[in-house]
């Protein structure tokens, strides 16, 4: 497959430049650095960033802040950010839960970029390998969303690459991991109604235009099962269980609030294939669940808890989290139930007896925990205390052969995200994509070709590079590291090398011709000032409603673009 990059990804700390890895020309970095310091002027750093979520804007911000305008190289730096929606911020706007406005404060980092004339935003521009002449090729989004971004300006990599010295892919993970082998799942041949990927539900309640038409109906839904135990699962559980008056002043749109207010949800179960010691959600999110008014939580069975404690050892975060999970919360009003369930993998989603196109039951394979023998040799972070990611990967679930069924009026599939390949069917440059892992092919953020060789000047950061894990702080660290190695690479060599790939050592000036042309032909490219008008219009809408909301999001691209006249 890709033995080399995969292995390096796992063991970077063991690598040395002198590794026997390659006959290829690997230059020892210290030599290069001296060379560039002594001789020529650095070449222009003209960067295209694809995707405007946190990984994109943290990378842009790190680079522009590290090379201020008034520094010697400052005027030789430009950053152009492309985004297929008219709105920036990515998951900060469409992923972070509406009742976590404080987490969204990080978008001020993005807003700071707007005062730097070296930064330009091109919103409503969709990039793929497909040539700009073909208009109707759809972008895969999800089985649930046939949305194809019909209002966007479509351009190809080939249209823009000559204009840049550097390309950074930060377009995140906008597809769901499928449960396609489970009959009745949303990605199976015969999907049942009310089986929804978490990505779809989260995007729907956050007013993502590709998912705003999702037919969500919570009338008559009493029992909800969420498959997967990460923070997304808890976000969904919280939105479904929280009293509506605690959500009414968030940026949830009025349509969404209306549907949530009709909900009959009584019980939400969050189910994992392993045990309490292997959950992926974090303590803050769990603590928040327990603070929901009128919620009953049963805690965790003793024997499961004892096993979990034995497995996690002395790990600080897990210890605190297990301590919290252990305590049950009684509530006599008993209006809403929240449960964690363990050691179950979905076998089949079964139709309801009343309506065979709706889901009614889940059949589970019961699991037991096995400590993986390979865990001893598998790499662990140098200091597991410093990890932002819950560990426990060495503990595996193994089916016992037993099965169990229980009722589920709605099933949310929350088993992770994957990135979209930005590769088209026809000629032109293709972005190397690791289909198996669902991310851009890269080694430590440096994009590699099919043979595993680094393509000079092309990088990836955030979820598109490393998969859908980690909180915003981890994305920030990742982006900063990437930005630092990018600047290091750039300023330590005077050209892209003799096999420069698709980029230009001396990039063409200005904005890509295709952008200017498409605007002449009626295409709408949303720059920062246009975004500010959309932003203001959303705030004005909220003000008019007089309900104390800060923002009433537009749920359709048409409505966003209509603001611009």
């Amino acid at each position: 497959m890709l033995p080399r990059p995969a292995r390096f990804r796992q063991l970077p700390s063991l690598l040395r430049p002198t590794s026997s890895l390659t006959k290829a020309r690997i230059t020892i970095i210290s030599d290069v650095r001296q060379y560039s310091a002594r001789t020529t002027l650095p070449r222009p750093l003209k960067i295209a960033i694809i995707g405007s979520g946190p990984s994109g804007f943290y990378t842009a911000s790190r680079i522009l802040n590290s090379i201020p305008s008034d520094s010697p190289n400052g005027q030789n730096v430009q950053v152009h950010m492309y985004e297929r929606l008219p709105t920036p911020y990515g998951l900060v706007r469409y992923g972070v839960a509406p009742d976590h406005p404080e987490v969204k404060n990080c978008q001020h980092k993005f807003d700071e970029l707007s005062s730097d004339p070296r930064f330009k935003f091109f919103g409503n521009v969709l990039i793929s390998s497909q040539p700009s002449s073909s208009e109707t090729i759809s972008t895969p989004s999800s089985a649930l969303s046939p949305y194809t971004y019909p209002h966007s300006v479509r351009i190809s990599f080939d249209d823009i690459l000559p204009y840049y010295s550097t390309l950074i892919l930060t377009y995140g993970a906008s597809l769901s991991n499928p449960l396609s082998s489970v009959p009745g799942s949303s990605s199976s041949p015969n999907p049942l109604n009310n089986v929804i990927p978490a990505l779809g539900l989260v995007s729907w309640y956050n007013s993502h235009p590709a998912f705003s038409e999702l037919p969500i109906n919570l009338k008559g839904i009493e029992e909800v099962s969420i498959v997967g135990q990460g923070n997304v699962a808890l976000d969904v559980a919280r939105i479904l269980l929280k009293p509506i008056d605690q959500l009414s002043k968030t940026d949830l749109s009025e349509e969404v609030l209306q549907i949530l207010s009709e909900s009959n949800v009584k019980r939400v179960k969050v189910i994992g294939r392993r045990g309490p010691g292997q959950i992926s959600f974090t303590t803050k999110e769990f603590r928040e669940m327990l603070s929901i008014p009128e919620l009953e939580y049963k805690g965790i069975k003793n024997e499961l808890m004892e096993e979990a404690k034995a497995l996690i050892g002395n790990e600080r975060m897990k210890k605190r989290l297990l301590g919290l999970m252990e305590k049950s919360i009684k509530n006599d009003s008993g209006k809403k139930l929240f449960e964690l369930d363990f050691l179950k993998s979905p076998k089949a989603f079964l139709p309801s007896s009343e309506n065979s196109s709706n889901v009614g039951e889940i059949e589970w394979n019961l699991n037991q925990l096995l400590s993986s023998p390979s865990s001893l040799s598998s790499p662990t972070p140098p200091n597991s205390q410093s990890s932002a990611l819950p560990s426990g990967n060495s503990v595996m679930a193994s089916p016992t052969g037993e099965t169990l069924k229980y009722r589920a009026d709605m099933i949310i599939e929350s088993v992770g995200y994957r990135s979209e390949p930005l590769t088209g069917e026809q000629g032109g440059w293709k972005l190397p994509f690791d289909e198996k892992r669902g991310r851009v092919k890269n080694v430590n953020g440096r994009v590699v070709d099919e043979e595993g060789s680094v393509i000079p000047g092309i990088y990836a950061a955030g979820w598109a590079a490393r998969g859908p894990v980690g909180v915003i702080a981890s994305t920030m660290h990742d982006s900063y590291s990437l930005a630092d190695s990018l600047m290091d690479d750039h300023y330590s060599s005077t050209s892209l090398g003799d096999s420069a790939g698709p980029l230009n050592t001396t990039p063409e000036d200005g904005i890509p011709e295709v952008i200017i042309k498409s605007q002449k032909n009626g295409g709408i490219v949303v720059d920062l000032s246009a975004w500010e008008r959309i932003d203001q219009a959303e705030r004005d809408r909220a003000k008019k409603m007089g309900k104390g909301k800060e923002r009433e999001k537009f749920r359709k691209v048409e409505d966003m673009l209509a603001v611009l006249g």
Partner: protein, 187 residues
């Protein structure tokens, strides 16, 4: 293989190392320029839930004391080298002070205890004088990089007179995200 003109074997490094090696101009610029300056009102401040006892407030509202009259405080980098010694007033928090004095400490959530980016390591003597971190702060510290026994969130450490002489060390930011990043999988 023939395209490997770059050295991709090196682990990612932190910026301070890199800039000092690349060129003097870059080295000086990265530390002298304020990398984060929060000037806008907190989005959604009117709809904040009161989940934690500490009310988030605007940062960057620090009034510098007359030199020689304030509470002294030293920021160090992850290697223990002094970044700068500054003076603050009673009640000022370390995140706001860092921003006021251009110390490179992030504050992604702007002091609302919703992230761990302002994590600092306090010297043991002064750590013991601080009120215990609350559950919400501990929840965030759980996610911090390079956690130590005397770690705190900078936004939650408020100066008092007895803290004069406190040292806050920035944690090591070097961390390879790819070591444990390979986790996405289905059930």
């Amino acid at each position: 293989m023939s395209r490997s003109t770059m050295n991709f074997l090196r682990p990612l490094k932190n910026s301070r190392q890199i800039h000092s090696k690349i060129s003097p101009s870059l080295a000086s610029s990265s530390s002298s320029k304020n990398p984060i300056r929060i000037i806008k009102p907190i989005l959604g401040s009117s709809i904040k839930r009161n989940l934690h006892t500490t009310t988030p407030r605007l940062h960057g509202e620090i009034t510098r004391p007359e030199p020689g009259t304030g509470i002294k405080l030293t920021f160090k980098d992850s290697k223990g080298n002094e970044i700068k010694t500054i003076e603050g007033n009673e009640g000022d928090d370390l995140l706001s002070l860092a921003h006021e004095y251009d110390v490179d400490l992030e504050g992604a959530c702007e002091g609302s205890v919703a992230c761990s980016t302002c994590h600092v390591v306090i010297d043991p003597k002064h750590y013991d004088m601080l009120p215990e971190p609350d559950d919400e702060e501990n929840d965030m510290l759980d996610l911090a990089f390079g956690l130590e026994d005397t770690s705190r969130l900078g936004c939650q450490v408020k100066l008092t007179k007895e803290l004069d002489g406190l040292t806050a060390t920035l944690p090591s930011a070097t961390r390879n995200m790819y070591v444990d990043g390979a986790k996405a999988r289905t059930h």
